[in-house]
């Protein structure tokens, strides 16, 4: 097993102590929410739990504590001590999420450029069989925590176990899927290490000094931003499922390392009472080869049945714009766009979708985009490969008719 070290290598001391000024009043010790400082006699000492939040500084009556000098606060000491890339893999009910394979494959490419290693961590119950797939996608080492209390994702036990693994491994990069699990977990981990986190990246690259170039849409997908975490480690990012191109499976070899984990009382702060699958069969837009999507231009929620008919002919999934979802015409799980899902099918047929940038952000990587809209000035026509200006209620039935022949 991995033993957790006593020091917290990722967090440099963020508080300066002037022992000669301390009067031993212990106000700092009492004020600290984390047990990050102890005072014995007249000597304050930071513990591993110190998060640098600075509460102790503000309560000290004698200015015996101060924020560490600017540089030290900002910079984790010795960035070179961090090596390798760690993927936080994800499973649900014993099934590995495709994003974990996508991330592992992407990490493999980045690691090869850096001449470094890829590790993956996977938590759950009865999941040892999944490790091989991560190896096949490029992981050199897979850390497995297999225990009943990890069966379903919960923030506190998962973040606790992964924090100590990260503290031990000191990876320079940690990547996580931008799923409901990853987006719950990653900020908690980044908070623990007081490091940077970039959400929902659509592109990852690495520069010569090992800085991760994290590109993501911002401002509702209207602009793209490349974000870096230059002075802190690990550099953390989440990536949406389906955004990175999956790589062919390789015949590599990897080491599988079981982690010994124990349950703690605090893990139960949030208890799962029950779960219920969504009524409708799961929509897997991310994996769809063809998507037929509708927007406000359909005029009425009932017209989605028309799209369903077209989808049936094309063996397609149904997508929707935020406008259509907000009107309650169709469920959230169908939403494509910056606030919905990111898709890249072979064919995307946008019916009555005007093409707000926030929608385009979710589908512009599709191979062939076909827009059907009666407004020739709709912005969707700037993104589409083929545009049909006309009434969706006439064109879609015609399309169904001709495709059936």
């Amino acid at each position: 097993m991995l033993e957790t070290t006593n020091s917290t290598p990722c967090a440099p001391p963020m508080i300066h102590i002037f022992s000669e000024r301390c009067i031993g009043c212990k106000l700092c010790e009492r004020a600290c929410l984390f047990g990050g400082i102890t005072v014995s006699g007249k000597t304050p000492m930071l513990t591993d739990q110190c998060t640098g939040c600075g509460v102790c500084i503000t309560v000290c009556p004698k200015q015996a504590l101060a924020a560490a000098e600017h540089k030290e606060v900002l910079q984790h000491s010795n960035l070179d001590a961090y090596r390798g890339i760690l993927i936080i893999a994800e499973q649900r009910e014993g099934v590995l999420h495709t994003v974990s394979c996508e991330l592992t494959a992407a990490a493999r490419q980045l690691a090869d450029q850096r001449g470094t290693q890829v590790s993956a961590a996977l938590l759950g119950q009865g999941i040892s069989g999944l490790a091989e797939r991560l190896v096949a996608h490029g992981a050199d080492t897979v850390y497995i925590a297999d225990a009943p209390f990890l069966q379903r994702y919960r923030t506190l036990p998962y973040s606790r176990i992964l924090s100590s693994l990260i503290a031990e491994l000191r990876p320079e990069i940690v990547l996580c899927g931008a799923t409901t699990i990853g987006r719950d977990l990653a900020p908690r981990l980044a908070n623990h290490f007081r490091t940077g986190l970039t959400a929902d990246c659509t592109g990852l690259a690495i520069d010569r000094d090992g800085t991760l170039l994290q590109t993501r849409p911002a401002f509702g997908g209207n602009i793209m931003a490349t974000i870096t975490t230059p002075r802190h480690r690990p550099q953390m990012a989440t990536v949406r499922p389906g955004v990175l191109q999956p790589q062919p499976v390789r015949s590599g070899s990897g080491v599988i390392v079981p982690l010994t984990v124990t349950e703690e009382p605090s893990d139960d702060a949030v208890q799962i009472l029950k779960t219920m699958p969504k009524d409708k069969p799961a929509v897997s837009l991310e994996q769809a080869q063809v998507i037929v999507a509708g927007g406000r231009g359909l005029g009425d929620g009932k017209n989605f049945t028309l799209l369903q008919e077209l989808a049936q002919v094309l063996n397609a999934e149904i997508g929707a714009s935020r406008g259509a979802v907000d009107l309650g015409w169709i469920g959230h799980e169908h939403q494509v766009g910056q606030t919905g899902k990111t898709v890249r099918p072979k064919i995307y047929i946008a019916c009555g979708i005007s093409g707000a940038v926030q929608h385009l952000a979710g589908m512009q990587a599709s191979d062939i985009i076909i827009a059907i809209n009666n407004d020739p000035y709709a912005p969707i026509f700037q993104t589409a490969h083929f545009g049909l200006v006309g009434d969706v209620h006439v064109i879609v039935p015609e399309l169904i008719h001709q495709l059936r022949q």
Partner: protein
């Protein structure tokens, strides 16, 4: 029993759905984009006010932003929030999510005891969904994200979470932090009485970095681990081919073209 103390974090954001692209220059038209209360923060306020209606609560809205962000707090007051705090200081500028969460955490410590913190799941200008969980981290609180329904009894919240493939019901003892999705609940309108009261000059408490007693080195751009290295316009396709004619011809041509591309 003392009423629940609820804090709701709210952010003023540009209405990104109103942003248009200039077809000539292919660039973003930034002018004239209205500022609004972040939609999911509006749902967080609604959730807080529902708890207040059912169980009695004191609801405090907390925002960080430039002085004009007071507008979203006025809106919160008009909806029925009891107290509003605006964190506004030049040294807060350029805060990334980590430092934003840190700054909010210090304001929450300063304002006193609380039972529940409600945040919108994410803001439409950044879509990161990070500030809620990071705030929970700074305060050492359990978190429940993606909440679409919240009920309360005996210091315990039962929350329905909206996940990709299922709904999950969880229970958590207070204090805790919950992030709220745009959900099924109907949003209320401001009441005239509250609206008038919200406009009173002293309704919003304003705090600066000095009030939080945090050194500038721990705030804003300088303390933020992430840096924006580059901003650019997304690549837009300019190869659009408009297919013309009557519906039958258009569809026929489209199918022909797709067959030629071996897409069908």
């Amino acid at each position: 029993m003392a009423p629940l103390q609820i804090i709701v974090t709210v952010k003023q954001v540009p209405d990104t759905t109103e942003v248009r692209i200039d077809p000539k220059t292919n660039s973003l038209i930034r002018e004239g984009v209205p500022s609004i209360i972040n939609p999911e923060d509006r749902h967080a306020i609604e959730a807080a006010l529902c708890l207040k209606d059912q169980h009695g609560a004191t609801v405090t809205a907390l925002s960080m932003g430039p002085p004009q962000a007071a507008a979203v707090l006025e809106e919160a007051l008009a909806l029925g929030v009891d107290k509003a705090i605006l964190l506004s200081d030049r040294v807060f500028a350029g805060s990334d999510t980590l430092v934003t969460a840190f700054t909010l955490s210090r304001a929450i410590m300063k304002q006193g005891a609380f039972d529940l913190i409600l945040c919108g799941r994410q803001a439409i200008d950044g879509d990161t969904a990070q500030v809620g969980p990071q705030l929970a981290g700074f305060l050492g609180l359990p978190q429940v994200t993606y909440a679409e329904d919240i009920s309360y009894a005996d210091n315990v919240l039962t929350v329905r979470r909206r996940l990709e493939d299922c709904s999950e019901w969880v229970r958590v003892h207070l204090p805790a932090l919950v992030t709220v999705c745009a959900g099924i609940r109907q949003l209320r309108y401001p009441s005239l009485y509250n609206l008038v009261a919200a406009c009173a000059p002293d309704r919003i408490i304003r705090w600066t970095a000095q009030d939080l007693n945090v050194p500038a080195s721990m705030l804003g751009f300088a303390a933020s681990p992430t840096t924006v290295k580059k901003i650019f316009e997304p690549e837009r396709n300019t190869r659009v081919e408009i297919i013309e004619g009557d519906p039958r011809t258009m569809v026929h041509q489209l199918i022909e073209k797709l067959r030629n591309l071996q897409a069908l």
